[in-house]
């Protein structure tokens, strides 16, 4: 009988629609982060560094990139004879076939996967947070409290508490009450979406709530467990943790890596973050290049100026170009004499010569003012931007665009272009 003390279930099926065109073709956990990484590398590396060698990754939305990235788990040493990483997409059943309708529903549909490992504990993770955490310490806390459920929480500023699920605890850390995005929060302990369940309690709750529509951990499972009088504890975490759910927080989290000694330090020997390192050669910095406060990935070739930016592997930045406060992901090529201010450019994009990005005033976006904000210009993956166009702030571009898409050669602030893809055109 295969036996694992704790296995992890990593929820990686969400679209992350607040990242706009960045998640148009890939699931949010597969979005690049910090030059060479993808968001899912952080929870996966935390698992292996915490001694968890059995991880089920639940996928649903646009899983191709995620599947390719994870493979059989070699980069994280999760290629195991017993356990290792398993990608778990929704599947057809003899009756009641459905997509994953909620976080807990997705886990419920994979009861069989978990059962084959006879776990004592199950760790539930989401694939869209940037942090380093030792889940083993959290498990010790769970055991010491004889808890049924332990929820990782972090203190947030009181004025921001109303954006989170808030835990109200007693002096021992036992949870007395939940408040989901409360208007007047009575505590500042915010749930990080990381749970340890004692296997029995989890299975019981999942089965009891199996007919719940869109069954969700925060909305249904945790309240159910509390109603039943089970022991729920809040595990307070005080390290760096960032939800990169919006373009603003995604941009900010990348920029924080550039600080001289960043709060979230990728350069520590201890607790290394692993990723699929498929690009090997060193980067080349030309004689005319100027680079200041940057992270730059392998194989990049820089001929222009780059300030305060995060540049992915194999990116080419042409002569005379000036890049500031931007994030450019892998395999993208930027032409000559391009000016770029505060842009996020996804993978495999081609930007022509003489393009200006991020000029003018901030204007609210016409289509999705809440998504395309923060003064950022965003370009989706595999897009093409023709020579000499000017692109304003709070804009979004996806697909292969031509000069005709830019009236008078300009995409004004707040506008969106959704052009056809190369394959479908």
């Amino acid at each position: 009988m295969m036996k694992k003390e704790m296995i992890a279930m990593l929820l990686a099926g969400g679209q992350g629609s607040r990242l706009g065109v960045l998640t148009e073709k890939v699931a949010k956990p597969a979005v690049a982060f910090g030059g060479k990484y993808r968001i899912i590398d952080f929870p996966l590396s935390n698992c292996i560094n915490s001694g968890i060698d059995t991880v089920g990754v639940l996928t649903q939305y646009q899983p191709l990139r995620l599947n390719t990235h994870i493979g059989i788990g070699i980069p994280w040493d999760l290629d195991r004879n017993e356990g290792g990483v398993t990608v778990l997409p929704p599947y057809e059943k003899s009756s009641n076939s459905e997509w994953y309708t909620g976080t807990a529903n997705a886990i419920y549909q994979n009861l069989e996967y978990m059962e084959q490992y006879h776990p004592e504990y199950v760790l539930i993770l989401s694939g869209d947070h940037i942090y380093k955490m030792d889940y083993e310490v959290m498990l010790d806390f769970h055991k010491a409290n004889k808890a049924d459920v332990t929820i990782a929480c972090m203190p947030v500023p009181m004025e921001e508490a109303s954006r989170f699920g808030i835990m109200v605890t007693d002096d021992n850390g036992r949870i007395r009450e939940f408040e989901e995005k409360p208007e007047h929060p009575s505590s500042n302990l915010a749930s990080m979406g990381i749970y340890i369940f004692t296997w029995k309690a989890l299975k019981e709750a999942l089965v009891a709530l199996r007919d719940q529509n869109g069954c969700d951990f925060g909305k249904h499972i945790l309240p159910y467990c509390k109603e039943k009088g089970e022991r729920l504890f809040a595990y307070e975490y005080n390290g760096y943790w960032k939800d990169v759910g919006t373009l603003g927080s995604y941009w900010e989290a990348n920029m924080e890596l550039i600080d001289i000694i960043p709060e979230f330090n990728l350069y520590e020997e201890f607790w290394r973050i692993y990723t699929k390192g498929d690009i090997i050669p060193p980067q080349y910095i030309s004689a005319d290049a100027v680079i200041n406060r940057c992270l730059i990935g392998e194989g990049a070739e820089i001929y222009g100026e780059v300030h305060n930016s995060v540049i992915g592997p194999n990116v080419i930045i042409g002569k005379g170009s000036v890049i500031r406060d931007s994030i450019i992901m892998r395999n993208t090529s930027v032409g000559e004499n391009v000016t770029m201010d505060k842009a996020i450019v996804a993978e495999d994009v081609v930007i022509g010569n003489g393009v200006t990005m991020g000029f003018g005033e901030e204007v609210p976006n016409v289509e999705k003012p809440a998504v395309y904000a923060f003064g950022i210009a965003v370009v989706g993956e595999r897009s093409v931007i023709p020579d000499h166009v000017r692109i304003g702030k709070n804009t979004a571009i996806s697909g292969i665009t031509t000069p005709e898409d830019y009236p008078d050669g300009v995409l004004a602030g707040g506008q969106v272009i959704t052009a056809k893809d190369g394959e479908t055109a």
Binding site: I260, Y267, I280, P282, Q283, L295
Partner: protein
């Protein structure tokens, strides 16, 4: 592919100066991200050779660490794989490898137990890309007994570190001289050979009976009038790193955009062990020009016309010029390094000054690293 591979990675020589203290030449770091043996290994993998033996004996720690898993080159299959053979004491033999032919002789079972008809022999210190299938086709077309891959060199003074040869119009090798002081010819052997497996076993066993140990002197040169030994001339990039100067030049060659494109961008790719280092970081004060920078580097100073290998820390106000800094080196603040090769895993204290005035200087300090 109808061949197995043998990589001769045992060697070292004092012309690598201090660099040879730590490792065999085949384990020397190249071009920021690679080690010398990656080129021969990747070429074999890219030529679909599935079974490769690496023969090594000099200070193999670095090499063994590098080859600790064969997955990076896509070996480690059920059919074939990567085998590292160091000398072992057996009932018949208790000597180190006494030469290249002896190294093969001591592992003759590897040849006898294979079924592929041909063997590709390569040295571990060449920097090049090659499809060995093309050489094999040529070998078969010429009905050769042995094919020697050769190239021409520009600097006649360099003949003294190579095997120099002359071919007739049919490309059969008629003259072959090992490391002559001067030579009228400029065609040299690259140390890459193709030979039929049974032929190799026969020649190696014969040499062993006669107490002869060197593949070049005792087989190539001795048999050149008896066997059909042909040259296969290449004009693509090939460089050998057996001296400190050639090692420096080979690394600096990668600052040339054509050579970079040839090795870094054009298929098939050269593979190496993945180190999981973060992207390179440029802090305020970084001023980098015409240089290669590898992952894990943190730069606070000036770097010009240089190659930084992985995990190099450059302190504030440092000036690095025309130098090669090997992996995991910490350069303290205000350090000046010019025309140097800095040995790996070293810590150079703040305010140090190193400048190679006549030729390349090799810097080895062996200080402890206190903090980062």
């Amino acid at each position: 592919m109808r061949a197995i591979g043998i990589i001769l990675a045992g060697g070292n020589n004092n012309r690598m100066r201090e660099l040879s203290n730590k490792r065999a030449i085949a384990a020397m770091p190249i071009a920021g991200s690679y080690r010398a043996i990656d080129f021969a290994l990747s070429n074999m993998a890219n030529s679909h050779i599935q079974k490769v033996a690496v023969l090594t004996q000099y200070n193999a720690r670095s090499l063994n660490e590098h080859l600790s898993s064969s997955k990076w080159w896509d070996f480690g299959r059920k059919q074939g794989g990567l085998f590292v053979f160091t000398p072992t004491i057996t009932k018949e033999n208790s000597f180190w490898y006494q030469g290249t032919a002896d190294a093969i002789y001591q592992n003759i079972e590897f040849l006898k137990n294979s079924h592929e008809p041909y063997v590709v022999i390569a040295s571990g210190d060449g920097v090049y890309k090659m499809d060995y299938n093309k050489v094999l086709e040529y070998h078969i077309a010429k009905r050769a007994d042995i094919t020697v891959v050769c190239t021409s060199i520009k600097d006649p003074a360099e003949v003294e570190r190579f095997g120099v040869l002359r071919m007739n119009e049919d490309c059969r090798i008629e003259e072959f001289e090992e490391k002559p002081m001067v030579s009228p010819y400029n065609t040299i052997s690259t140390g890459i050979y193709i030979i039929r497996r049974r032929q190799l076993i026969e020649l190696i066993e014969k040499a062993a009976q006669e107490g002869r140990n060197d593949f070049v002197k005792d087989i190539l040169i001795r048999y050149k009038n008896l066997k059909r030994i042909y040259g296969y001339k290449i004009d693509t990039f090939w460089s050998n790193i057996s001296t400190a100067d050639s090692y420096y030049k080979t690394n600096m060659a990668f600052l040339d955009p054509e050579i970079r494109s040839y090795f870094f961008r054009q298929e098939p790719a050269i593979k190496t062990r993945i180190d999981d280092l973060p992207p390179a970081k440029y802090n305020p004060g970084a001023n980098v020009r015409n240089s290669l920078v590898s992952s894990g580097c943190i730069i606070n100073g000036t770097v010009e016309n240089s190659v930084l290998f992985k995990d190099v820390f450059v302190g504030s106000n440092c000036v690095i010029k025309n130098s090669v800094i090997l992996n995991n080196v910490y350069l303290g603040d205000n350090t000046h390094i010019e025309n140097c090769i800095v040995e790996s895993r070293d810590t150079i204290r703040a305010n140090s000054y190193y400048c190679g005035d006549k030729g390349i200087r090799i810097v080895v300090e062996e200080h402890d690293r206190y903090t980062i």
